[in-house]
Amino acid sequence: MREELAPHVHDINRALGNKVSEQEIERELSSYLNVYRVSLDTAKRSIVKKHGGNPATLAVGVSKTIRELVPGEQSVNLLARVVAVYEKEVTPQGQETKTILSGILGDATATVPFTAWEPLPTPLAKGDVIRVQNAYTKEYRGQVQLNFGVRTAVGKEAPDALPEFKPGPGQPYVSKPTPVRVVDLREGASNVAVTARILAIERREVEVDGNPKAVFSGILADETGKTQFSAWKDFDLKAEEVVRIEGAYVKSWRGIPQISFDERATITRLKSDLLPPASVLNASPRMWIEDLAERGGGADVTLRGILIDLREGSGLVYRCPECRRVLRKGACRLHGEVKGEPDLRVKAVLDDGSGAVTAVFDRELTEALLDKTLDACIAAAKEAMSTDIVRDELADVLVAQPIEVRGNVTSDDYGLMMIVESAKMLKVDVQAEAREMLEGLEGPA
């Protein structure tokens, strides 16, 4: 016990500027831990506070396994393997867009999503073993999230510092699977049963722990919705057939729930007329944003709303030829001054009265909405000597207008985002709808 606590005693002592004796600190610490039974983190902070120090100067966090993490921890230390890592652009309210690092860390006990809000001294790659000190945790959508802030130190360790963790086949399920409709799939659910029609399936080769493995992925649907699936075993599934999958689990990709199943699952083939035909199931379900917000996202959904605002970076933009980032003042934040490649895009706030998403339209869609090509936009901007003219024209055409959009909705810390696949301005027969509603209110005229 004493040896384990020694670094923490030193840490407290240092935070207090050596004005309290180590024996005294050790006595207090052990009293907090053994008599009052608070967590080590709380104990250290309390002692520092009690003696007039600043708990934020504590440097030695408490080493934990990922499974032990709870939301709201101020200083956690971890040894973990990078399971996935990607960059993303965020725009905190009232600040410039910046690129942050996000991904998943794993150890033998569990995995946890992480976000690095500050640039890291070393780049991270999938498979790296890292030691994280002074990270903090928060709750996001009911899940623990690990955050790296200004005080967080991240260093690489040898790959063998952490035993390779094999996700493996997992334990066989013992209880009966829970029947779930596609629309009700939620991240983290396991041993679910889904009755659905396979709409599409393809075989892909992926690498798992350095070995090639076949995964059969595609889209399945019931009357309530569609979802991506991944089968880690060849069940000889074919497009169009109706199956019951028992013993599947649900993961999510950027907020979109997806279903996965492996050799633990059982597949039962059912009569084809049990579900509507593929042509019907393939339709993109019309959804309210408040429902998407609750689920965290959705695959191939249709939204109707009003574009109430254009965000920064809409219109004619120039991208870095290396990394496709949008240049700011002619420079890429990674590659410096480069010759930018012109592109058109719209980032707009779509609000349907129940919630809001950021809708991103690519060049092709933007050209169609503007009824103007990229080249025409470049020419117009040259003549006006400002790219604002393109943005203003877009605002003219789009803002305050009702629109229907279709695409995948994902979520991150800043809310929901749709990468729009198709869009059309809505023409609504206002009178017909008003008449119908009035009749519902007062009876037919």
């Binding site: 605002a395 609504v428 509603m437």
Partner: protein, 294 residues
């Protein structure tokens, strides 16, 4: 998460006397309406009837009035809303305007509450956008009316009880707050407001004449109106206002009265139809004593 932009009528918004602070430094604040809309952001489309600088030349504060079929929104844009202020200062009322903004409450003394909007974006739009907004505002009002009717049946009223009938948590919170603050509100007033909004969109309720249609109108007992005559008077008055508005500043009241009397419209009837035209958003008062057609 970005706050949703509520579509709601001026009359419901202006009825609100409850302000809620989320607690904490940066927490958003809300205006809760009698029907339980917990409003931080609004989206409004209406007729911007006048824009005025109520600040100074150095520190302008632009005030705009935006009318919808039920009442008037007050919009204030100052130095901290540079874009909206610039747009407002250039607008030539009357004009259809779409406004996205934040809800604001001003309470100069205990018991007096004024609601207003601090705009984020303002855009001049056309009539079709305004009509679609009215439809959306009606849909939204309808939903709140239905939910509030259910809520008024519950005893005790709890968020959990509302969740059981499928009300989302954020909505349920507004409803519980509203009932605690306003008590049991009279829903018929808002049902009438909804019908008024819908009729505004329908030509059969706008156009005069055609007595056949007029009698078919299921006039609610509370809002008894003589079927066709006021419409004719209103038309006359509208015509008078249009003819007398020679300099674009609006028709003077004395002139309207004189012309109306000569066309056989009594003063009382004239005042009534002017009020009705104002309510319907067909005319407005650019300056005191002058009327202008929209």
């Amino acid at each position: 998460m970005r706050e949703v932009a509520w579509r709601l009528f001026a009359s419901e918004y202006n009825d609100a006397t409850l302000e809620m602070n989320g607690g904490g430094e940066r927490a958003p604040s809300y205006v809760v309406t009698p029907l339980g809309a917990k409003v931080n952001r609004v989206f409004v489309v209406g007729v911007i009837t006048d824009v005025e600088n109520v600040g100074t030349d150095i520190q302008p504060m632009w005030r705009a009035r935006v009318s919808d079929p039920t009442g008037t929104f007050h919009i204030y844009a100052g130095q901290y809303q540079p874009e909206a202020a610039a747009t407002l200062s250039k607008l030539k009322p009357p004009v259809f305007g779409a406004i996205v903004g934040k809800s604001r409450v001003y309470s100069p003394e205990a018991g007096t509450v004024f609601t207003s909007i601090r705009p984020e974006r303002i855009k001049a739009v056309d009539e079709s956008v305004r009509d679609y907004w009215i439809l959306e505002a009606c849909r939204s009002l309808r939903k709140r009316l239905d939910t509030m009717a259910e809520a008024q049946k519950m005893d005790p009223l709890t968020k959990e009880g509302l969740a059981k009938i499928g009300v989302k948590e954020a909505i349920a919170d507004g409803i519980v707050q509203a009932v605690n603050h306003y008590g049991t509100v009279d829903l018929s007033r808002y049902t009438a407001m909804l019908a008024e909004g819908l009729r505004y969109l329908l030509p059969e309720y706008r156009e005069p004449a055609n007595p056949g249609e007029a009698t078919a109108e299921p006039a609610p007992a509370a809002k008894e109106e003589a079927p066709s005559e006021p419409d004719e008077t209103e038309l006359k008055v509208l015509e008078i206002i249009a003819t007398l508005d020679k300099d674009g500043k609006g028709a003077p009241w004395e002139g309207i009265l004189e012309a109306a009397t000569s066309k056989g419209v009594a003063k009382d009837a004239l005042e009534e139809s002017i009020n009705s035209l104002l309510d319907k958003g067909l005319i407005y008062e650019p300056i005191l004593g002058r009327m202008k057609k929209i």
